[in-house]
Symmetry: C2
Subunit: 489 residues, 2 copies
């Protein structure tokens, strides 16, 4: 069998040590890999590359399509960009996979029965980094959720469940409040779940789901979430499983994938042969399965489980009574290598399948191409920066002023402040900031509006000396409104 | 001492029973209250009022300014609006307060030492409910964070800490990603923390903070958060403390405040004398302190603690071995009343201060009035719905088309898709949906732009037959950019 080329970066801080330990173990377990080493992180940043990765390194990633990455240090200040965010975004690594497992009774945990996997969307949500300040008082961030984005992540979660013999996929979302964005995620989840009758599917409102997961993680199997919820709750799950130092993760793209530990570069522990290589090692296990070397993954992972079980522990998980021997990074790796061929006796041994053993009938594309819906422009929200010095009761004043801009077939139907209607018939108790939304629609009920009418309306705002700061068009799709009502509208 | 008028709603499901039990206990403890009863919930919804509260009930709330509310049932379907959201938004209840306490060894918990309070912002964030669908593929939700909103909630958290003898206030936010919105929250936190040298202040990135809170809640005291984070993590904290059935909460406004249980109306348990009234009761304790009857709050709360300690438990927390007697709603209330005057022996007794005993020097207003900064328009992001059938590599095609609209002093500087730059010099690996952001700035470096230029630009989009769907103006404030760069820009 020919070797698989992979790209490896040794990173900063404890990175080089734990990478060396990880590669040592998997090679001894028989990994059939050819390593292409690239440099990323602190040195690259400080050499004047604000992205922390040299242009030629992208070529290696595009060639091997597999990236095993040690943690890096991003220098403080100076406009350095998060390398992880850059790599994820640029290469379209849309799925972040994080198995969170407890190793009771060998590693201290409040949750002895825990073996769940978080599948987190990795490209969208408020993490797209689109932010604006347009008034003295208000900052705005856009939360974007796309149908292909939802389809990709939800399908990945179900495919992962099938391949890894998981029984259930749970979705968390907040669609009782965010009816459109989170509603889309929920809808896509229901659609795709129906294609996998062998996998149980359920869903929770994220607050309740998070509470249940934090309290009784044993009731969960695979959990799929949008970016923000997944970010928070994957850290919660990793932490309560025992230690963030024991978790690896995969970032999966359509073409390229990245494997890593979830912890940072811990510069204070660097160079002392202290660090626990387990997080990166478990990332490498995910990689071995991904590159279709399940035999190697199984040998290495079971040897690791046996080492943990034998109480051979690095300082971070060492505990008098449960642990037997406190070891350094190298000694830990040697202990795992010594156990290659052995299986754990108390913990559950792992078993991985070759890709070709997994029968997948009628596989759908990871995102659908759909017929466009009939899209009709029916109005516009014009946002205005306006301030008369009053936090209460200014709705009528601005409403009356904005109403003067009616004409050319458009009329003001509502002014809201932070989502709550304040005109017409606003309540005096509503606290208002200097950021007003003015909703205009056609004078005639259910009539369409043109882009030209909106441009003319903006001209009237401008002529009146009003500082319009943003617009949001209101569209119907197949006759159904694509916009929410104001609270109280 | 004269009585305080309060407004009471008995609600739906188990609401009437637990309200009766709660009022019985606090009256027996000497509560000096005059009750004005209003009807809210299911009956009101089904009588045709989509808000679930009759117009005249607002008069009662405005008169008493204190609302003790039992849980209600919102009928399924039919466009009924969340009463809680309506009341919070309309009356400006900006702070949600949730003490999360474990009662080890009397109530089962994995976290025996836990006594924290979550202070959640209640009006802003993605919960303002402003959503748009403007292309076939993309849904958008606005996250609004205002300076006065941050000031109000952060100051409340510190004031609460002072009044309740708390030692530390911790902020959770995600300002490494959302540098502007969450950055504003962080900045305000630092500013206000400096005014309270007697209170320790610290902060965590919300994912790490959440992980720590879920694992070792004993390390936290008061935690202040934006709406979404607070929603998720207050449920986590309540759940891991023991039971969501044992938590009350306050919703504090500048003028009016509301007190309730955090659980729902549990219709299946209704009318059977089964429900645990403790959540609503603990909400009433927060109310008694709020209306300056700390003596009554102390008597009632200590009697309740003693009852829990004596193992007199309703079905939901009853456990063979730890509990002594399984009782119904009424019997539980009677047991608490019987213990009025007693204090707990193992659990910590509570102590509350009268408002006038709390010396607060130099109290600042709950939000500041600041000098407006110098605001300069420097560009615009025009968002376009556009689709050529390709998920990869379309950036150059749309970029070239949009560049033709340069002129009148404006030029295209970037096109991005879901926040990632795709033109000029986009990467072929970036997955693109049908929602494009086109950033225009002045042809001349650092020159200002006029509203008129933006209107003219939109006309050029329109003449070119391009479907512009939204705009976001780019402003500098005191010379500092109020907009984020595209990923890769």
């Amino acid at each position: 069998m020919s070797n698989t080329a992979i790209t490896v970066a040794h990173g900063d801080g404890i990175g080089p040590e734990i990478m060396e330990a990880t590669l040592h173990i998997i090679k001894e377990a028989g990994a059939r890999i050819d390593i292409d080493t690239i440099e990323i992180g602190e040195k690259v940043y400080l050499s004047g590359n604000s992205a922390g990765i040299a242009p030629e390194s992208w070529d290696s990633l595009r060639r091997t399509k597999v990236f095993l990455k040690a943690p890096i240090t991003t220098p403080q200040g100076g406009g350095f960009k998060s390398l992880n965010v850059t790599v994820r975004k640029t290469l379209g690594l849309y799925a972040n996979i994080r198995p969170c497992v407890s190793y009771h009774p060998f590693v201290r945990t409040k949750h002895p029965v825990m073996d769940l996997v978080i599948v987190r969307e990795n490209e969208e949500d408020t993490y797209a980094g689109i932010e604006y300040r347009q008034t003295d008082m208000v900052e705005l961030c856009l939360k974007l959720i796309s149908r292909p984005g939802c389809e990709k992540i939800v399908r990945y979660a179900f495919e992962y469940a099938v391949k890894n013999n998981r029984k259930k996929v749970t979705a968390f979302m907040k669609d009782n409040i965010m009816k459109q964005t989170d509603g889309l995620f929920h809808k896509v989840f229901d659609e795709i779940a129906a294609e996998y009758p062998g996998i149980e599917a359920d869903h929770w409102i994220v607050d309740i789901g998070a509470a249940k997961m934090a309290d009784t993680p044993e009731n969960f199997d695979v959990i799929v979430m949008q970016n923000l919820y997944g970010d928070i709750l994957s850290d919660v799950a990793a932490q309560i499983a025992g230690s963030v130092g024991l978790a690896g993760s995969a970032n999966i793209g359509e073409h390229i994938s990245m494997f890593e530990a979830i912890h940072g570069s811990a510069p204070r522990r660097a160079g002392q042969n202290l660090a626990n290589p387990s997080g990166l090692f478990l990332g490498a296990i995910l990689m071995l399965v991904h590159i279709n070397q399940p035999d190697v993954a199984e040998l290495a992972h079971n040897a690791w489980l046996r080492t943990i079980e034998d109480g051979i522990h690095t300082y971070d998980i060492f505990k008098e009574g449960t642990s037997k021997e406190k070891v350094g990074t190298k000694e830990f790796a040697a202990a795992v290598v010594k156990r290659i061929g052995q299986k754990p006796e108390t913990l559950k041994a792992v078993k991985y399948k070759k890709t070709e053993e997994i029968a997948v009938a009628d596989r759908k594309p990871i995102y659908s191409i759909r017929e466009p819906q009939k899209k009709e422009l029916v109005g516009v929200d014009v946002f205005v920066g306006w301030w008369n010095g009053e936090f209460y009761g200014a709705g009528n004043a601005i409403g009356a002023e904005i109403e003067k801009l009616n004409g050319d077939g458009l009329k003001l139907v509502m002014v809201s402040n932070r989502g709550t209607k304040v005109y017409p018939k606003g309540l005096p108790d509503t606290f208002c900031v200097d950021h007003w939304r003015c909703r205009f629609m056609s004078e005639k009920e259910n009539a369409l509006v043109s882009h030209k009418q909106i441009i003319n309306l903006l001209s009237r705002f401008n002529d009146a000396g009003l500082d319009f700061i943003k617009t949001e068009h209101l569209y119907n799709f197949d006759g159904k409104p694509g916009y929410s009502l104001g609270q109280g509208q």
